[in-house]
């Protein structure tokens, strides 16, 4: 009897000790054998344990893509892109997945500096922005210190002007970091999971039907009231949909 209990205990322990890396590599090998549903279970287990990485989301997205679950694939590619905005593979697969969804939405063209600002903001992830904000601030202080402490006139001049540059730069970097943090921590982007969903003019079923979108489409959440989300899609149209029909990135 004791023996059985100890065996059971050991089994439970070994399961709980099975590290995330083992789960990931068993998911990878399942993927290689084209056992996509099994791969998905392995990857999702790691995510449920509270871990994430761009590569994990990317692999999970691929597995979903292979079983033709497009919205889940897009959701995971988008999540991967948040963590690794510059990764070419993620962008490529996301583009392919997006080309296979029902809705084709023409994005509203933005003014060039807004576009530049956004593309600059999306060029690196939040963590990198946070680190660079700290770095820029430290460099600014270095210049200030040099300016105030040196007696050499030439050095002081250089320190002054570079200091001015760093003041502007750190303002820019801080605002980028803050807006990115704000968007990411509030999860303001989402993917539609319902096969078709009618966008209403008010946050209830009685609202007038405005337009129809389909699964896989990306929406931006403006606000949420009583399980209804006010969303706007890439072409600028907005309306309300039930929160249950979307999943936040």
């Amino acid at each position: 009897m004791k023996k059985i209990i100890s065996i059971i205990c050991a089994a439970i322990l070994s399961i709980s000790l099975m590290g995330q890396q083992e789960l990931i590599s068993s998911g990878d090998s399942a993927y290689k054998q084209e056992l996509y549903t099994e791969a998905i279970t392995q990857y999702e287990t790691v995510l449920e344990q509270g871990y994430e990485s761009a590569e994990l989301y990317y692999n999970l997205g691929n597995a979903y893509f292979n079983i033709n679950n497009l919205p889940a694939a897009i959701l995971n590619y988008e999540r991967a892109r948040v963590l690794a905005p510059g990764d070419a593979d993620i962008q490529f697969n996301l583009k392919i997945a997006n080309s296979m969804i029902t809705d084709k939405i023409e994005a509203v063209p933005e003014i060039f500096y807004v576009r530049w600002w956004k593309s600059l903001r999306n060029s690196i992830n939040l963590h990198s922005w946070t680190i660079s904000s700290i770095t820029v601030f430290a460099l600014l202080l270095l210049c200030a210190g040099l300016f105030f402490l040196t007696r050499n006139m030439f050095l002081r001049k250089i320190a002054f002007w570079t200091g001015i540059v760093f003041v502007l730069l750190s303002l820019a970097v801080f605002s980028m970091t803050y807006t990115k943090y704000d968007m990411q921590s509030k999860h303001l982007e989402a993917i539609v999971f319902d096969p078709t969903i009618t966008i209403k003019s008010s946050p209830n079923q009685l609202g007038k039907d405005l337009f129809v979108i389909h699964e896989g489409t990306k929406v931006y959440i403006i606000e949420e009231i009583n399980d209804w989300c006010n969303i706007v899609i890439a072409n600028g149209s907005d309306g309300w949909l039930p929160s249950s029909s979307i999943k936040r990135i």
């Binding site: 509270g50 963590h127 210190g145 402490l149």
Partner: protein, 617 residues
């Protein structure tokens, strides 16, 4: 169809009690028929041979007859064998007017003796007087209720070969009618052939194939017939119900007597048409059992890329008509897919022709056999292509992926690979001559997602941001604190440094005086060496302290530079350097000179006071 069934059942009833030695001619027919009914009039004689002369039938339409049928019966009783032969003369009649009619007796001449049968009286009633009921009780003409339990005697049953098929797997469904001694006719099977949710192929094409069979269920003998049989291919997964099918037919029910006991002797005795020949046509409707199928979806895992819905078991064979050809000659690849399963639903397999081949739609011929066990056969695809440029090309192998429901796995069969050698043919008139090199755009054949990332990667905790955390603010504050500390340190040390200089500056004259005082003592005691050392120390030390120049930085060469920096006049500098030189010189010069020592001493004092006054001004 119905006649076959009918006569087969009728035949079973003609086991009559006949005395072997006495020749008898008996007549039998239904006593009541309705207008338009078809019925049999049978004359039976218990001997072979003889000249039969039929009755004159004017009140009924004779459809056919007399048809002669002979049966022989051997009996062994107490070791004695007796043989009896029965000959039946059957007329098929149809009633066309109502009323009571009598068919005059028929006669037969056997061995010179003429034997007559009885006359047969038949009552013809209007057809609508026959009640049409569903299963259950019905009333006969005499107003006597009789239970016609057609639910037991006649029923329809549906069979299915597999209740848990995969999507697309072939399922054979069949409908069988069971009758226990009840002749039926006019079977309407048209509404059996409808199966929503399935792609169906009828497996019984020839209606004449239906053969009655005998089956015993719970001790009751039934005559059965398979009315309908189809191969079904489920088109979706999940629960699919095949609704109960309704079937209408006409049953001939005995209306006289209330015999439930199935005593073979009495049965056969009362079944004798001579005693009991009242039949009634009853239109009955029966319902088959509904069938519920649980269709499993095809597994997603390991689904081959080229899978296009083929379910069953297939093989593939390909041949090429000509592997060595000239440009612009046609080449044909013939592909035969054979096996059992949803053959007709298989998409045309793709052939990866080299891009320089002109291809055409394949010609598809099918040879599909529907047998009682299902659909099998083959489909032939003939692919035609024309090479437009010379070279060695390889085509294939052509692959077919299918799902084998027996093993529950996907399988891929492939044909052999063909090597095609194309030589440049004669320039045909319609070939284009290019000026320069013909360039072509890259042809993209497909698009797919990129492969997964492998290897170990760094995992981070979900939803944790560095921004706006205490750590973040600490990291921001750290350089501020460091800068503050650094500036404090620098300012402090500067202050300290300047304090030291001030003190030294203040004490410079004092120290110099003290040194000179010692020098004066050496002068008095005539200690030359010590005197000069002390004087030079006084002078150098004074300079170092006064102008905050480290001693190590001072030398004869740098002194002028340093002093002029400190706004000391050229003249004083000259005197000072001269004095120093003198001192150094006298120190190492031979011979003593008290005067010289005195002079140097005076000069040193004068020099220091001179610089003092100059700095003050």
């Amino acid at each position: 169809m119905k006649n076959i069934l009918l006569s087969a059942i009728m035949m079973m009833m003609f086991i009559t009690g006949i005395h072997a030695d006495e020749v008898r001619l008996t007549a039998s027919a239904r006593s009541v028929v309705s207008v338009g009914d078809r019925f049999q009039l049978t004359y039976t004689v218990n001997t072979k041979g003889g000249q039969f002369s039929g009755p004159e039938i004017s009140d009924f339409r004779v459809l056919s007859g007399p048809n002669i049928s002979t049966s022989q019966n051997y009996q062994v009783i107490n070791g004695k064998m007796s043989a009896s032969t029965t000959v039946s003369y059957i007329y098929y009649l149809q009633a066309f007017k109502n009323g009571s009619f009598e068919i005059p007796p028929a006669s037969i001449e056997v061995n010179g003796a003429k034997i007559k049968s009885k006359a047969v009286s038949i009552e013809v009633v209007q057809s609508n007087t026959v009640p049409k009921t569903k299963q259950g009780a019905q009333t006969n003409n005499n107003g006597q209720a009789e239970a016609v339990n057609t639910g037991d005697d006649v029923f329809l049953k549906a069979y299915v070969s597999n209740r848990n098929p995969y999507q697309g797997e072939q399922v054979v469904v069949s409908y069988k009618i069971f009758t226990a001694n009840v002749p039926i006719s006019d079977i309407d099977i048209e509404n059996l052939a409808s199966f929503p949710g399935f792609w169906a192929t009828n497996l019984i094409t020839d209606r004449q194939q239906i053969e009655p069979k005998q089956e015993v269920i719970d001790g009751t003998e039934y005559l059965t017939g398979e009315l309908y049989k189809a191969a079904l291919f489920p088109q979706k997964s999940g629960e699919i119900n095949i609704a109960a099918k309704k079937l209408n037919c006409t049953a001939q029910v005995r209306t006289q007597g209330n015999r439930k006991a199935r005593d073979p002797f009495f049965d056969s005795f009362f079944d004798d048409p001579f005693f009991n020949n009242q039949y009634q046509n009853v239109r009955i409707e029966m319902e088959s059992n509904p069938i519920k199928l649980n269709v499993k979806p095809l597994p997603i895992d390991k689904k081959p890329a080229g899978f296009s819905g083929a379910v069953g078991r297939f093989s593939i064979r390909a041949s090429i008509d000509n592997a060595n050809l000239l440009t612009n000659d046609a080449v044909t690849i013939k592909l035969i897919i054979s096996g059992s399963g949803n053959l007709e639903l298989i998409n045309t397999p793709e052939i990866n022709w080299p891009p320089d081949f002109e291809t055409y739609e394949p010609k598809i011929t099918k040879n599909i056999k529907t047998t009682a066990s299902g659909v099998s056969g083959s489909r032939t695809f003939e692919f035609l292509a024309i090479p437009r440029s010379a070279g060695d090309f390889s085509v294939g192998p052509i692959e077919l992926s299918y799902f084998d429901p027996a093993t529950g796995k996907y399988k891929t069969v492939s044909s052999e690979k063909f090597e095609i050698h194309v030589e440049k043919g004669e320039q045909s008139s319609n070939s284009v001559t290019y000026s320069g090199i013909a360039q072509e755009d890259i042809m993209y054949l497909g698009q797919d997602i990129r492969y997964i990332k492998t290897g170990t990667f760094v995992l981070s905790n979900k939803g944790q941001y560095l921004f706006a955390t205490p750590l973040y603010y600490m990291l921001l504050a750290a350089p501020v604190v460091m800068l503050a500390l650094l500036s404090l340190l620098i300012i402090n040390s500067r202050k300290k440094k300047s304090n030291v200089a001030l003190v030294r500056n203040r004490k410079a004259t004092k120290v110099a005086r003290k040194n000179l005082k010692i020098a004066n003592q050496f002068l008095k005691s005539q200690q030359r060496e010590e005197f000069y050392t002390e004087v030079s120390r006084a002078l150098w030390g004074y300079l170092s302290d006064k102008f905050n120049i480290p001693l190590s930085d001072l030398s004869m060469d740098t002194i002028r530079e340093r002093l002029s920096e400190k706004n000391v006049s050229e003249e004083s500098i000259d005197t000072f350097i001269e004095g120093l030189n003198k001192c150094e010189f006298a120190r190492f010069a031979p011979g003593e000179s008290t005067n010289l020592m005195n002079e140097i001493y005076q000069e040193a004092i004068m020099f220091i006071s001179r610089i003092e006054s100059e700095l003050k001004s």
